[in-house]
Point group: C2
């Protein structure tokens, strides 16, 4: 209720949009960062003619409705991003503003302005307390994102009570320190003039993002106004009636819109959406003058790929090409694809020389060089991931970002939203195990890989050689509704004669074949080579099949027949991964895994200390074969199949 | 090298400490937030006589050394907290300063100042770019932590290159907006006067934390000075020689300390540690005048517990006491323990009315009421967890903190450090499944519980009733070197006749016994009651044993005999948890679990939609029994035992 004047002004006077064309490329973007206030957003979408009926609004927060308890981009037309987890929305908006700036610099011509939209945000105190918003806001100031306009609902109330309890900083001064324009509006409850003028100043300032700090009263007009009681709970029927009377509404009517309101909005929408027709006409001329650019934009916004794209991935010949760290293969794959995929945009959280994510075909996106595609995120992992989500939501982008695998833990809140919101972000995560060595346990991931595998709709790749690294990129690019985490090593990985693109794309396959094995080892990444070494050493007494499983989620998608041919379940099986066991007990009778945090020391020594050595694998392999000698091996595949629901919705 | 003057001044003139008594309660705390610069910290610890030899220093970053690649509190005496993951250290320091302020307010008397130490931090640009430091710094300003002094090594260099790439905000202005005193020092490379004066002003300002912004040159004196090349890489031998010559050192000597330096530091340490003896004498007098307080402090710093503490936990009688949401039982347990455990200090990230963590025996810790124990963290999950780590590191505290379970994902970087650094933080996480209902998938944890279980040294509790909730608290309090995550429901859980304290403390036990079951269901939290309902419905054809497993880690610690008596492995077994499968495939032949994100709607309906209903469990139970009819059930316990190393060290 406190935000109502802002929404009213934005939709009726300020924003350019077309409810019939909700995916219009140059629409102004709106993000409700305080997603819990979504009743307001749904009201505006309904009033302005988006595909949201009054019945939908009445079904608020009910199962299967188009009006869930927090806005979800994949459920409701007109919702740009899923918000609710505080702080994410404003960071998404930073990504959207970067997106507009880059596309404008890349595609606009002196004659035709294809991209020129603004990005508007409403956010509350909660979003601004979260560290993630500090990260992205600092970067937005640095990048001078002049088309980003944040309306800060400064109501001094959070769930616990007054912001006096914990949030007494000078928010405006903080945003000025980031290089933002800050405007204060105090009269929004009695007049729209102040806000109207502030929005005009915000649009006039093209070199800086703007925060408009708007003093409001939570639950304005109700008996509970200005208290935290109205934050999460409904007003109650008496208060609701009294409030309606106060605003001149019929207290007996609910979900009722007066005809004058309908008319007002109908007129307003006509005005605000008139730009759409003009834009379409302009873009037809653009297409005539710039057919290749127009075609490329079509391709990008439709998430189509150039034909034969993956033929460009670097060739690798077993026994000829050099063995390197998989982060080096990642560098090559990324740089092979980037020139052909202008939608690849991204960077690292200040670990470019370690992550090896610099682009050879482009350089830094900065305030004065927005045509470039390499983003210097700074040491801001969480903000980085949320900005990538915003870029994806803008459309026409396949963002990538990078840090050490362990520090994806800092970004998990936003990574989860990539998965939930079906955004194919490519997370390039190097230094993927205790094998990173000297930096020690604070930097060595142990639990992270299994943690990520527990998340729905995300691919966790851990390639073991160049061919598999290429396949990881191919899968990541192909799956545009699923984020991918590509885990790469700092240490050298070993080439395998049996690795082919086709096999690697199945997520799991034999790198050492034995038709009738006595033992199977299944491993990922840098551990695959150790298994092959152990397998050789176990011959001739024990015949070992070694499975490389660069992506467990993809393997799980294969046919039962294929999966059984790889992992029959009734042959003694050891999993070997320098991480937590987690789901490996589904496939393996014994696990060489990490049960504790790592240790600082040279990578090779650390690997040995924790049993990731061929000698230990030989010993454990012998023990396991002995363990089942002369008796039936429990068949781990003899389980009742879990049939998943097919519904993809909400 | 750029930070050397700061460290020199702190250890030789400013800080009060006693190398022979590294755990002295009132020592000044020092935190190297930019942990990658730990060579400096190790040098100072060696120079000042801590238990760190020159040989230790030479073993830098080697396996098993006392000088790992990043400082680790559980490895090296004199290291207060493990740092390296950027931004954590400065937040830990905020916790330490809160700790000092609270203990001073609680235990000091007009005659005796038991607690009066300062907390000093050195941090770099990286720490200040991380959102976590924004969160804790804003709170530190709000709380007016006058004894917190941050030395900001403002060298304009990060790993990617100049801070011009991504970090051009006005940091000083930002800290002023938080309510800090900010002092700029520019002459530290030619004189110590500026820094000395700044430190004096910092100590003089008792109502605000202070940031001293110190202009430095990275790799000062070397050929690579002022470049990012010196951030992570060694200088190289030529440059090392030249640098030594420049500073008047013998270029042929390494790990050599001139005798005048030794003497200087020997004298300085005498001076800086003289306060220790005075403090000990004072505390003896304090003990005489305040025997109870002194004894309580001994107990708290030694992590001892009052005898019969757990008798205070709320009694619960099956069939008599009321069934409630487990968050309500958590509220009761917390409030039963808090009056007896003054070391329990904590709060919520602005979800007090939802998490139910308010203390009845104390109220808000604020600037002017530091004797209180309830912390209003604001919407700052990551900062909250790191502050709790700092409180724990201070000593004498068992911090707790709270948010929705899903948002522990925001705090994961700090939660991991609780586990790694052996800090028994109590994470009270409510709204622990899709059962929370209407807030929808952005708020519904699905993967989080299994994610946490993948982490070493952490207990994940998901109690299913009041007795189990009490046991979760008992285990959490008992294990002071292991953090606990207590996952609590928003919905009502069902009392079980067979639940007892003793059984619940084993982590897993039968809530419905069958001597010779045809089927076993193993569940946690709110799903236990559904299983029992299904078990009743399956009688008499199928006899079901239902296992409640409130803590899998604790269950795994039990004897093989006990575990086999509960889960024999060769009886058809279904796991039932509204989360990812992950490790459940170790115990169960079939899993009723979450394979996708949740949905917005009433909690009960959401539960049913995803199969967490007795009718679905009945159907699946019948199917599974049928599936194995007449043949051998694969024995999931027939696996070779994994023998863990016992070494607890680094």
């Amino acid at each position: 209720m406190g935000c109502a004047p802002m929404a009213h002004l934005l939709w009726s006077e300020i924003m350019t949009y077309s409810p019939q064309n909700p995916k219009w490329w140059n629409r102004d973007r709106f993000v409700l960062s305080n997603g819990h206030a979504c009743a307001l957003l749904y009201s505006m979408l309904h009033l302005t003619g988006y595909n949201l009926t009054l019945e939908d609004c009445k079904a608020f927060r009910s199962l299967g409705s188009r009006t869930p308890g927090h806005p979800e981009n994949f459920v409701t037309e007109g919702v740009e991003v899923s918000t609710g987890p505080l702080g994410q929305g404003i960071c998404n908006a930073v990504g959207m503003a970067i997106g507009e700036k880059h596309l404008a610099a890349t595609y606009n011509t002196p004659e035709h302005e294809v991209f020129s939209n603004h990005t508007y945000v409403i956010c509350g105190d909660g979003c601004l307390q979260e560290g993630i918003s500090s990260e992205a806001s600092s970067l937005a100031g640095h990048l001078g994102l002049g088309k980003l306009i944040v309306l800060y609902d400064d109501n001094n109330i959070t769930i616990d009570g007054s912001t006096e309890l914990s949030f007494t900083e000078d928010v405006g001064m903080r945003y000025e320190s980031y290089g933002w324009q800050v405007i204060v509006v105090t009269d929004v409850e009695t007049s729209l003039e102040g806000l109207r003028a502030a929005l005009a100043s915000a649009k006039a300032e093209t070199g800086k993002p703007t925060m408009i700090k708007i003093k409001t009263t939570i639950g304005f007009g109700s008996a509970k106004e200005n208290t935290h009681k109205v934050h999460g709970a409904p007003l109650g029927s008496d208060d609701m009636r009294a409030t309606k009377i106060k605003f001149g509404l019929d207290p007996d009517k609910s979900f009722h819109i007066e005809s004058d309101v309908r008319e007002f909005y109908s007129e307003a929408v006509k005005k605000q959406s008139s730009a759409y027709g003009e834009w379409v006409a302009m873009f037809e001329k653009y297409r005539t003058s710039n057919p290749d650019k127009a075609k490329e934009l079509d391709r990008r916004f439709n998430h189509e790929l150039p034909s034969n794209l993956f033929d460009s991935l670097p060739p690798f010949t077993h026994g000829v090409s050099k063995d390197l760290a998989s982060r080096k293969f990642s560098e090559s794959a990324l740089n092979a694809l980037a020139p052909l995929l202008p939608e690849l945009i991204g960077g690292s959280a200040d670990l470019t020389p370690s992550n090896l994510t610099a682009l050879k075909c482009s350089t830094d996106f900065q305030k004065s060089t927005p045509e470039n595609r390499y983003l210097r995120f700074g040491v801001r992992e969480h903000g980085m991931a949320a900005i990538c989500n915003g870029l994806f939501a803008y459309g026409a982008f396949r963002p990538f970002c990078a840090t050490f695998l362990n520090f994806i833990g800092y970004a998990l809140g936003a990574v989860r939203l990539s998965a939930l919101s079906q955004m194919g972000i490519i997370y390039i995560m190097t230094h993927d195990s205790i094998g990173l060595g000297e930096d020690g346990p604070t930097h060595q991931p142990v639990e992270i890989i299994e943690s990520l595998r527990a998340m729905p709709n995300i691919l966790v790749h851990r390639p073991g050689n160049a061919v598999e690294t290429n396949a990881s990129y191919e899968l990541a690019i192909m799956r545009n509704k699923t984020p991918s985490v590509i885990c790469c090593s700092r240490s050298t990985v070993k080439s395998m004669a049996l690795s082919t693109r086709e096999k690697a794309l199945k997520g799991g396959y034999a790198v050492k074949e034995e038709a009738n094995p006595n033992l199977i080892m299944v491993a990922t990444g840098s551990e695959v080579g150790i298994c092959v070494e152990a397998a050789e050493a176990l011959l001739p007494d024990i015949k070992v099949r070694v499975i490389s499983m660069p992506c467990r989620e993809i393997f799980d998608e294969q046919s039962d027949e294929y999966k059984l041919s790889i992992l029959p379940g009734n042959v003694p099986t050891i999993s070997v991964e320098a991480g937590a066991i987690g789901g490996w007990c589904e496939y393996a009778h014994y696990n060489v895994a990490m049960y504790r945090f790592g240790a600082s020391g040279p990578g090779g020594e650390v690997f040995k200390k924790f049993g990731f050595s061929s000698s230990n694998l030989v010993a454990k392999g012998k023990e396991l074969v002995q363990f089942y000698q002369g008796r039936t091996v429990p068949n781990l595949n003899d389980r009742m199949k879990i049939v998943l629901e097919s519904d993809e919705g909400h």
